[in-house]
Each structure stands twice: as structure tokens, then as C-alpha cells.
């Protein structure tokens, strides 16, 4: 009898504890995504998921807005010397770290010096801090940043340099520190992190600038995109950041779910790469093999292929309509930097054939495939793509059909992505690759891949080399006047478009979905779709 009573008491206690602590329900936003941060050490991180978390937990000098503009964040004002070399940032007073310590100019200077002095941080020395000469903190909470030369894009250099707490980082190994506790100053603080499972963040209601209205945000990793779609349908998550395009229509019909479609937050671009590397200039010391088909070094051949590419059909069949026709390597998501004034080569098969005919590429043996003017080689190209790409196989089939119509044959072959990297650059051991680039809010990164300088580094995929372009690239890097720089960037896009260095088939749209019955106020009307961005997460509130 005694045992039975005990049993009942335990049972009741269990049921009660399962009901939770009572009181008001915490507003927890659950986000489903397909990735997980690679590391929480901001210097070492590479994956975009890591940067999404940094964005929530840390502050930086500038905030990148969804329309592509920048606003001051940690600093309340900035003073620039006339020669554009010395920047003096006045750091806001009263900013606190999540552990209660004050954030000062000391921390900022410490962080910038850390990034500058650690060449092992993959992006820092090469890209974000090469113009940093010295960084100092002054007594009245100012940071003085001195550059080696004046540059036009200081905001985009500083935006991913997250400010770290000196009192923690100075005692840690800057390379191996895993930073699981992640003390920051941002609108959310780290509560719990299990790699490849979830990240749980708690609201920092005392944030100086954008205190969140919700209490918690959970990023849950799904290894399977079908599960992601199912999770939002059944309400296990409130928002998903990616999904297969095939699921978009079905989700759109659900009355509790709203779909947002548009340019992605992280600018990305799909490209068809032509190997134009002349074997005479092959970077042999860097492992160059330069086995590209000679016909691809002829602009006429590339131009004919461009005319024979039906971009709209690719968008309809590969992306199910969720994309825009591509034009240049600078995607439309980069806002003002995107040169939308360029007129694309129209889809015209007859014209494509005419160009090849005039170039002397005739089908001499009547097998349906044209030969080189000297009759030596057929216009038969190897076409590769990374085997993890969802869109590329279908694209390759379609391109094979389209280009087949003008007498060009393709040998299709998917390749393991890492093997493809080795095959690509700077080995130049391929003819055509379907791939893509991810980039930065500033156009410099993408424009760099056309430069002669980038050929031996492995960033140039085409081997394209044009002294006029190289000169313009160098010039835009130091042109301080915004409009003048924009004009140069537009001109550069026009040059490479005229030279048909790449074919840019389309700009994929980002598709995200959220449940309308849980939270309201998501930012959906900006130039870029990023519901997981901190700008959206700090303004949403629970549906009453």
C-alpha cells in the first residue's frame, strides 16, 4: 500500500513538472535551416551560418542593412581626416558585454589588432585588413584607425570585423579557442550550442540599439530539406531559410504560411565558366595543366554559345521560375553596383549559327558537330559541375540540347567538388564548368576573379587577362568618390560582358517561408530576403 501511494505521488509530481513553471509563455522563435556554424571563432569561420550567428551575438562598427546601405552601430560618430587615411570612431558609452563588463574602445582596438595580426585567419589579412596600418584606443572612448592608403569601402571592410571582449580573448589561444560561451554585446546572447544540432540564443533586452521583442531564438539544423518543409507545415518551426524550389508552390497554398522570394542576403551567382587559358601563359609553377579546348579562346565561339542560350527556359525548367535572368558576375542583389544598363546578347539560334559559319567552324564530316577552321578538332567540350549541386545536372542537359542545335557537342560529367577545385584553378584542366561564387557586399571580391593577378592564385577560373580591365580594377579600389567608383565598376562589367568571359545564366532567388500564426512584423519588403537576419529578428513580435 505504501509503495502504491509513493508511486502516485511520483506520478503526480512528474505530471506537474511537465506542465512547466507556469506564468507567461516565453516567445521563442524557432528557425529551421540546413546548415550549422563551422566554428564560433569569428577569425576562423568560413560558413555563412557562422556569420548569421555572429550577427546576432556580436556588434561591429557598422551594420549592413538589407537595402545594401550601412549605418553606424557601435560608434555614435566617425570623423575622417581630409586625406581619408585616419578614421576616428567615437564608441557609444554604456555598452555592456553579456557578462556585465563595459565595452570600450580598448575592446575594439584589441579586436582589430587581433584580426590584423593573425595571418592564419583565412579572410582577414588578405581581404579585410590589408589596408590597416595601426589601431589605437584613446582615453575618451575613441578608436583611431589609421590606414596605409585611402580606400572607398571602409564600411564593408569593417562590417564583418566583430568586436570581441578583450578580457576574455586575451587569455585564449586565438586559433584554437572554440568560443562556445561566446560573450558578445549584440541583441542576442548565446544560451546553448550543439554543433550540427541547434543554436539557442536568448534576447539581450538591455541592448543599446535594437533590443529584441522576442525572448529566444532557436536555429535548428535539418539534414534533409523535405523535413524542413514538413517542419514548417506542422508548426515545429516558425520559419525556414531554405527549401527545394519544388516545395514553394505547395507552401504558398497553406493559409498559415507566407512565402518571401527575392535576392539572397549573401550575394551569390551561378556561372558557366569557359577555360580561356592560353597554354603559352600557363601557370605551370602553380600546377597549371591548361588543357582547355582552343575554340573556347575564340570570342566568336563563346558569343555564339551565348546567343544559343535560352536563359528564360533555364529559369523556368531549372529554378521553376524562381530567379532572374543573369547578366554579369555582379548579381542584382548587390544593388547599385549591378550594371543593369548592359544589353544582353539576345537568344537567337540563327545568329549563333551565322557567327560560327563566319568564323570558319563548319561541320565538314556531316556528323552534326562542327570542327575547328583547320578541321583538326571537333567542337566537343567537356562540361563539368560539382556533384553536390542540385541545379547543375538539369542545366547541363538543357545546355547540351541548346548548344547541340548550333553544332556544339558536350560531354557531361559531374565531379566531386573538391576534385573539381583541383581541376579548375589554377590547373585549368577543363573546358567548361557550371559553378558559382558567393561573395561580399562590396563588388571588389567578385571583380577580382577577372584580373590577371588572380590567375596563379586559383581565384581566376577563366584565365581571362585584359590590361585595361586590370587597370580599372586597381583604380576602383582607391577611388574615394562613390559615383566615380560606381562608374568604373559598371564599365568593368561592360568590358567582361562584351568579351563573353562567362555566361551568367541566372540569379537564383532566395525562397524563405514563415508562419503567420506565430510571429508578425518580419521584414519582407527589403531588397534582400533574409528573415534570419538580425534586423528582422529584433523587430518581430508574437501574434497576440
Amino acid at each position: 500500500m505504501k509503495q502504491k501511494v509513493l508511486y502516485v505521488i511520483v506520478l503526480v509530481a512528474l505530471v506537474l513538472s511537465a506542465c512547466g513553471g507556469g506564468g507567461g509563455q516565453a516567445a521563442v522563435v524557432r528557425i529551421g535551416w540546413a546548415g550549422s556554424p563551422d566554428t564560433l571563432n569569428p577569425g576562423m569561420a568560413i560558413l555563412v551560418e557562422a556569420y548569421t550567428i555572429f550577427e546576432q551575438v556580436y556588434d561591429s562598427m557598422y551594420e549592413l542593412n538589407l537595402d545594401g546601405s550601412f549605418t553606424l552601430s557601435l560608434a555614435e560618430s566617425v570623423d575622417v581626416s581630409d586625406d581619408g587615411i585616419v578614421y576616428t570612431f567615437k564608441i557609444r558609452d554604456g555598452v555592456m558585454w553579456h557578462d556585465g563588463q563595459p565595452l570600450t574602445a580598448e575592446d575594439v582596438a584589441f579586436s582589430y589588432n587581433l584580426y590584423k595580426d593573425t595571418p592564419e585567419y583565412p579572410y582577414m589579412n588578405g581581404y579585410y585588413t590589408p589596408y590597416f596600418d595601426s589601431i589605437e584606443a584613446t582615453e575618451n572612448n575613441e578608436v583611431i584607425l589609421t590606414l596605409t592608403e585611402a580606400i572607398p569601402n571602409i564600411e564593408s571592410q569593417l562590417v564583418f570585423l566583430y568586436v570581441l571582449p578583450k578580457h576574455i580573448w586575451e587569455n585564449e589561444d586565438k586559433l584554437e579557442y572554440e568560443n562556445f560561451e561566446m560573450i558578445g554585446s549584440g541583441p542576442f546572447k548565446m544560451a546553448e550550442y550543439v554543433q550540427n544540432e541547434f543554436v539557442r540564443l536568448q534576447a539581450n533586452k538591455e541592448h543599446f540599439y535594437t533590443p529584441p521583442k522576442v525572448d529566444e531564438v532557436i536555429f535548428q539544423t535539418f539534414a534533409n530539406q523535405d523535413a524542413l518543409v514538413q517542419a514548417i507545415k506542422t508548426g515545429q518551426v516558425d520559419m525556414i531559410t531554405e527549401m527545394p524550389n519544388t516545395a514553394a508552390a505547395a507552401l504558398d497554398e497553406d493559409p498559415n504560411i507566407e512565402l518571401v522570394v527575392g535576392a539572397p542576403l549573401a550575394p551569390g551567382v551561378t556561372d558557366i565558366i569557359f577555360n580561356q587559358m592560353d597554354p603559352e601563359n600557363c601557370p605551370v609553377d602553380e600546377g597549371g595543366i591548361c588543357s582547355g579546348h582552343p575554340a573556347l579562346r575564340d570570342r566568336d565561339v563563346r558569343l555564339a554559345m551565348s546567343h544559343a542560350t535560352d536563359k528564360q527556359r533555364l529559369i523556368d525548367l531549372v529554378l521553376l521560375g524562381l530567379g532572374e535572368p543573369g547578366l554579369t558576375l555582379i548579381p542584382d542583389g548587390l544593388g547599385v553596383w549591378y550594371n543593369d544598363s548592359i544589353e544582353d546578347f539576345e537568344y537567337d539560334v540563327a545568329k549563333a549559327k551565322e557567327i560560327l559559319d563566319n568564323g570558319g567552324y563548319a561541320d565538314t564530316n556531316n556528323d552534326g558537330v562542327r570542327e575547328m577552321p583547320d578541321g583538326s578538332l571537333p567542337l566537343s567540350f567537356r562540361m563539368n559541375w560539382p556533384s553536390d549541386s542540385i541545379n547543375a545536372p538539369r542545366m547541363a542537359e538543357l545546355l547540351s540540347q541548346m548548344w547541340g542545335e548550333i553544332g556544339i557537342e558536350l560531354e557531361l560529367q559531374a565531379v566531386d567538388p573538391d576534385a573539381l577545385t583541383a581541376q579548375c584553378c589554377p590547373a585549368f584542366d577543363f573546358d567548361i564548368i557550371i559553378w558559382g561564387w558567393a561573395s561580399d557586399p562590396d563588388p571588389s571580391a567578385l571583380l577580382y576573379v577577372y584580373t590577371t593577378e588572380s590567375i596563379p592564385t586559383g581565384s581566376s577560373e577563366t584565365g581571362y587577362s585584359n590590361p585595361v580591365y586590370d587597370e580599372l580594377y586597381a583604380k576602383q579600389q582607391v577611388t574615394l568618390d562613390f559615383d566615380a567608383r560606381k562608374d568604373i565598376v559598371w564599365e568593368m562589367q561592360r568590358i567582361v560582358h562584351d568579351d563573353v568571359v562567362y555566361i551568367i545564366p541566372f540569379y537564383d532567388a532566395n525562397v524563405q517561408a514563415f508562419r503567420t500564426d506565430r510571429f508578425t512584423g518580419w521584414i519582407t519588403n527589403e531588397a534582400k530576403v533574409a528573415l534570419e537576419d538580425v534586423t528582422s529578428l529584433v523587430v518581430i513580435e508574437p501574434v497576440k
Binding site: 563551422d38 592564419e120 581581404y127 554543433q195 550540427n196 523535413a227 561564387w437
Partner: protein, 342 residues
């Protein structure tokens, strides 16, 4: 030969195999084309110097073994390298010290990363194996006992279907069914559950385990049922079973005292093989249910040429397979005394 000698010989062979795996493990991944310092990062922001720094940090700037910069035969290096400073020697030395290295990709010690993943896999596969063995044996015995009746035909049919179902497909079906019935779709635990009382945490994990374990159990139960059934039917046709029947023993007694032990041999073999291999994680099940196990860790590491993780994981699997085989051998000597004299 007596048991001790057999045991010693088996253990010696196992150690030799593990040593072989350690060496093979190192070279296997290095013949893959591709550069670990660039893998997983395709970004114009990554400058040549940065890649060079990564190479130094990972120790990839050192020759693989003396005389070879890489295993690519066209890239012969200089032979005047101190063998103590080759990648292979450093790898072996670290291993001897119990060090599995540092993951190139996730910036964490490999041992820590694998331990976490292994535990998740063992939890899932362990539960799945135990359930499928129990149910497989029960159904197999039932089918053999009631051979050529409706029960037998039903069990065989169901097992054949279950065994031949594509794991991935079955997983997706159960995922759709489960999510409609409130089962979680991903992960091992609900975020934030770690602050709950222990009992509720276990309940939460059990709820997350339900669908993947069910998938695993269904697939393997079919296999075990069929093997148990056919092996038992074989044994039941032996003369000594007839003798036992003639002595007037009940069917239950015959099964318990005379048939089952002999019928277990083939099942033990299959279970041992399955156990060894499934430490690698049922990759498909882990992928469908986003289960953070060893299988998905290996899958990710291959794509990123994360050599230390791959080496560690393969070593772990090799050791598991070898141990499972050792255990199977030893169980044999217990179940079948003839093995000792061979």
C-alpha cells in the same frame, strides 16, 4: 587448441589488423584529388597567402613521407627531409600519444567531435539493434515453430518486404507519418531541454529517437526473422530433435533445451557483422532524421577533405568491426564447442 590460445591468437590478429588500418587510413585519403586547405571554401576573398597559412597550420606544408611532397607521382619532392618531420610520422606519433588531431573544418579536437557523434550513433543503433534482435528472434522462432502455417507465411512475407524496403524511402514515409502525429522531425533533443529534470530529458530524447529507431528496427527485424527461421527449421529437422520428440518433450522444451542454441550460430554472425558496420552510422537514417551521428560526420568530412576527422572516424569503425568480429568468434567457441578443436 584450448580456449586461451585461440583467444590470444585472435587478439594478436586483431592488433595486427588495426596497425594495418592505421597505415592505410593515412594514405587512403591523401590519394584523393583536391586540397584540404581549399576544400569547402570557394571564395574570391580567400587569398593565396591565406591558403598558404592554412596549409602551414594543418601541417600540410610538410612532405607526406620522406621524398614525397604528395602522393601525386608527378610532384616528387626533395629527399633530404628529416623523416621525423613528415606528415606520416607526425600522424603516427600523435596517435601513439592518443591524439587524433584537430579538425580542419570545425576548429575542434577530433576526439571530442567524434566522441559526441559516436555516442549519438551508439544510442540510436544500439536501441535499433536490440529491438530488431528481440523481435526478429521472436518472429523467427514463431515462424519456424508454426512452419507452413498462416503465421509462418505471414511472417516470411512481412520480413521479405521489410528487408527489401529502401531505408531512405521508409524513413521519409515514417517522417511524414510521424510529424503529423507530433513526433519531432530533427535532432536528438529539443533545444533548451537540457535545463529540464533528468527524467524529462530522457523522455525528450526517447521521443526524438522514436522514428529513426522504428525505421532501423523494421529494416533489420526482417533480416533477423528470416535467418532465425531458416536456421531453426534446419535444426528442427535433425535426428536428435526427433529423439527429443520421441522422449515426449514439449515443443517449448525442445526449443529451449535442444534447438535454439544450435540455431543461433548464423544469427550471431550476421548480428556481429551488422554491429561492426553500423557503428559507421546508418547514414541514410541519420540523413533523413537529421540525427547528428558518426555517419553524417564522415559524410561531411569527405566533402571537406577533413583528414583528421576521416582518419579518426575510420580508425574507430575499423576497431569496432574488428572487436565485433572478435566477440563473434568468442561467442562461437561458447555456442559450438567444435570450434575449439579446429
Amino acid at each position: 587448441m584450448n580456449r586461451t590460445r585461440i583467444l590470444l591468437r585472435k587478439i594478436a590478429w586483431s592488433i595486427f589488423t588495426i596497425l594495418f588500418v592505421i597505415v592505410l587510413n593515412f594514405f587512403l585519403f591523401r590519394v584523393l584529388p583536391g586540397d584540404p586547405a581549399r576544400a569547402g571554401v570557394r571564395d574570391p576573398r580567400l587569398k593565396k597567402e591565406a591558403v598558404e597559412m592554412l596549409r602551414v597550420r594543418f601541417g600540410l606544408d610538410k612532405p607526406v613521407i620522406n621524398c614525397f611532397d604528395s602522393l601525386n607521382p608527378i610532384e616528387f619532392g626533395s629527399c633530404a627531409v628529416n623523416p621525423m618531420e613528415t606528415q606520416f610520422f607526425i600522424y603516427v606519433r600523435n596517435l601513439v600519444q592518443g591524439e587524433l588531431g584537430f579538425s580542419y573544418h570545425s576548429n575542434r579536437p577530433v576526439a571530442e567531435l567524434l566522441a559526441q557523434r559516436l555516442w549519438n550513433t551508439v544510442l540510436l543503433i544500439g536501441a535499433g539493434q536490440i529491438l530488431s534482435i528481440i523481435f526478429g528472434m521472436i518472429f523467427g522462432i514463431l515462424a519456424a515453430w508454426k512452419a507452413r502455417t498462416a503465421i509462418d507465411y505471414g511472417a516470411v512475407m512481412a520480413s521479405l518486404i521489410a528487408w527489401s524496403l529502401p531505408t531512405f524511402w521508409l524513413g521519409i514515409i515514417l517522417l511524414f507519418w510521424g510529424s503529423a502525429n507530433g513526433f519531432p522531425l530533427a535532432g536528438k533533443a529539443t533545444p533548451g531541454a537540457s535545463s529540464l529534470p533528468l527524467l524529462q530529458q530522457w523522455g525528450d530524447i526517447a521521443r526524438h529517437m522514436f522514428l529513426p529507431t522504428l525505421t532501423y528496427t523494421i529494416v533489420y527485424m526482417g533480416e533477423y526473422t528470416l535467418i532465425m527461421r531458416s536456421s531453426l527449421i534446419d535444426v528442427l529437422s535433425e535426428d536428435y530433435i526427433l529423439t527429443a520428440k520421441a522422449k515426449g518433450l514439449s515443443m517449448f522444451q525442445i526449443l529451449k533445451d535442444h534447438a535454439l542454441k544450435n540455431a543461433m550460430l548464423p544469427l550471431v554472425t550476421v548480428i556481429a557483422i551488422n554491429l561492426g558496420f553500423t557503428v559507421a552510422g546508418a547514414i541514410q537514417i541519420e540523413a533523413v532524421f537529421s540525427w547528428p551521428g558518426l555517419g553524417s560526420a564522415i559524410f561531411e568530412a569527405v566533402g571537406r577533405r577533413d583528414f583528421p576527422v576521416l582518419q579518426g572516424a575510420f580508425l574507430l569503425i575499423a576497431v569496432a568491426v574488428i572487436l565485433a568480429n572478435l566477440v563473434a568468434d568468442l561467442t562461437y567457441t561458447y555456442l559450438d564447442p567444435r570450434v575449439q578443436t579446429e
